[in-house]
């Protein structure tokens, strides 16, 4: 019974204390890429250990390891199944289906929204003089955003933004948005949105989604910093943030994004003066992420773990 217990313990640790610690740590701002890897490892290992704990517990009476137990169960080598084990197996199947369905639903819904928004943008915007093929939206509000997609992506800037920023600040914005597109940040964001959608009662799921959103912005900032000096990027962030004088109030806005970005702009500005995490430490974080993924995998599959049963 070691494997189910160990997996359950890991699942609990990854559902609450570990992500909580990570979301409170200050180092992720110094190495957003490594922190993003760690967040993804936590999410995947968390799901794997949750499902794995139920699965190994349910299959324990049928064989020494996952493979033989499944074969025995399917070929009917076993004539009786305890209700606890059956319950655990149903739980594993339901949880797996729930997570996958939510992921699928989030992808489909996002794609529909994305396509609708893209159609509107294409009708309402015109090609701009801004380098990088950004579309120009005839609106006084200073906004810049990108709409990343698997097949086509567009970057949109508003007339208000073009008026507000000089050429180098505009370059910072464009490079930032281009990073979102080329590094496919939308894939990571969608995965964490799906995680939050499937487990909304998890205290940490919302925080994780918010943290990942912020790390992605920092990563894009770092790409922009290769093309422009830090000061220019900082000025662009401040100008665009300060230009927002008409926040659109919406029900649920405060809960969702309102408060989140209060710290986001500040965090993005203050990290510009801080040295990035040293390489060895960064490698350590990535190694921890790999280890995190390896533990539940080994517990699930390895015959060594099975021998402990």
């Amino acid at each position: 019974m070691v494997a189910p217990l160990a997996l359950a313990a890991l699942a609990v640790a990854l559902a609450w204390p570990v992500p909580l610690l990570l979301s409170r740590a200050s180092w992720p701002a110094r190495s957003p890429a490594a922190a993003l890897v760690l967040w993804q490892a936590i999410a995947i290992a968390g799901g794997l250990s949750m499902i794995g704990a139920l699965l190994t517990f349910g299959l324990a009476p049928f064989g020494p390891d996952l493979f033989t137990a499944t074969v025995n169960l399917v070929t009917g080598e076993v004539d009786r199944i305890e209700s606890w084990n059956a319950l655990a197996l149903c739980g594993a199947a339901l949880l797996t289906a729930h997570l996958l369905l939510n992921l699928l639903l989030t992808i489909v819904r996002s794609e529909r929204q994305r396509r609708r928004h893209e159609q509107l943008v294409r009708l309402l915007s015109s090609p701009s003089e801004v380098p990088g093929g950004a579309r120009l939206l005839d609106s006084p509000a200073p906004v810049a955003y990108c709409l990343p997609g698997a097949l086509s992506s567009i970057t949109v800037v508003s007339a208000g933004l073009v008026e507000l920023l000089d050429d180098s600040e505009m370059l910072a914005v464009i490079e930032h948005e281009k990073a979102h597109v080329t590094q496919r940040h939308d894939v990571v964001l969608i995965a964490f949105r799906a995680w939050y959608a499937s487990l909304p009662w998890f205290p940490i799921a919302f925080r994780a989604q918010r943290e990942v959103g912020m790390l992605v912005e920092m990563l894009a900032d770092d790409t922009a910093r290769r093309s422009v000096p830090d000061g220019v990027l900082a000025r662009a962030i401040v100008l665009v943030g300060a230009g927002q004088n008409r926040p659109v109030a919406e029900p649920g806005a405060a809960e969702w994004g309102g408060e989140a970005s209060v710290t986001e702009v500040g965090a993005r500005l203050s990290r510009l003066g801080v040295a990035p995490l040293p390489r060895p430490l960064e490698s350590l974080v990535v190694a921890a992420a790999v280890l995190l993924l390896a533990v539940p995998t080994v517990l699930l599959l390895s015959p060594v773990a099975a021998a402990l049963l």
């Binding site: 928004h117 309402l124 509000a141 927002q244 649920g252 309102g258």
Partner: protein, 114 residues
Amino acid sequence: MATLGELERSIMERLWATDETLSAYDLQEALADRKLASTTILTVLSRLENKGFVTRSRDARPHRYSAAASREEHMADLMHEVLGGASDRTAVLERFVGQVSPEEAETLRRLLGR
């Protein structure tokens, strides 16, 4: 591919500019400098109809088309999506600077010294 999108845009601009309904031939005439076949215009119109941007009245022959909503209404919709705080609907787009609270906008303005 840019041409199809640009064509959709020019046709919408024409429909937005008038209160009257237009037929494919009216549009062909209005866009005469582009030398478009009427079938091309009909294709684009039916694409726009499928997307819900254009409504078609079948009472008359040839069919007459009009914009489903004004340019301003669409623009307001779009900006609401971009600026709105409810990120469930705006989750698909990645803004350079997300929504900022009025207090923080004030702080940033002070930082700029104005």
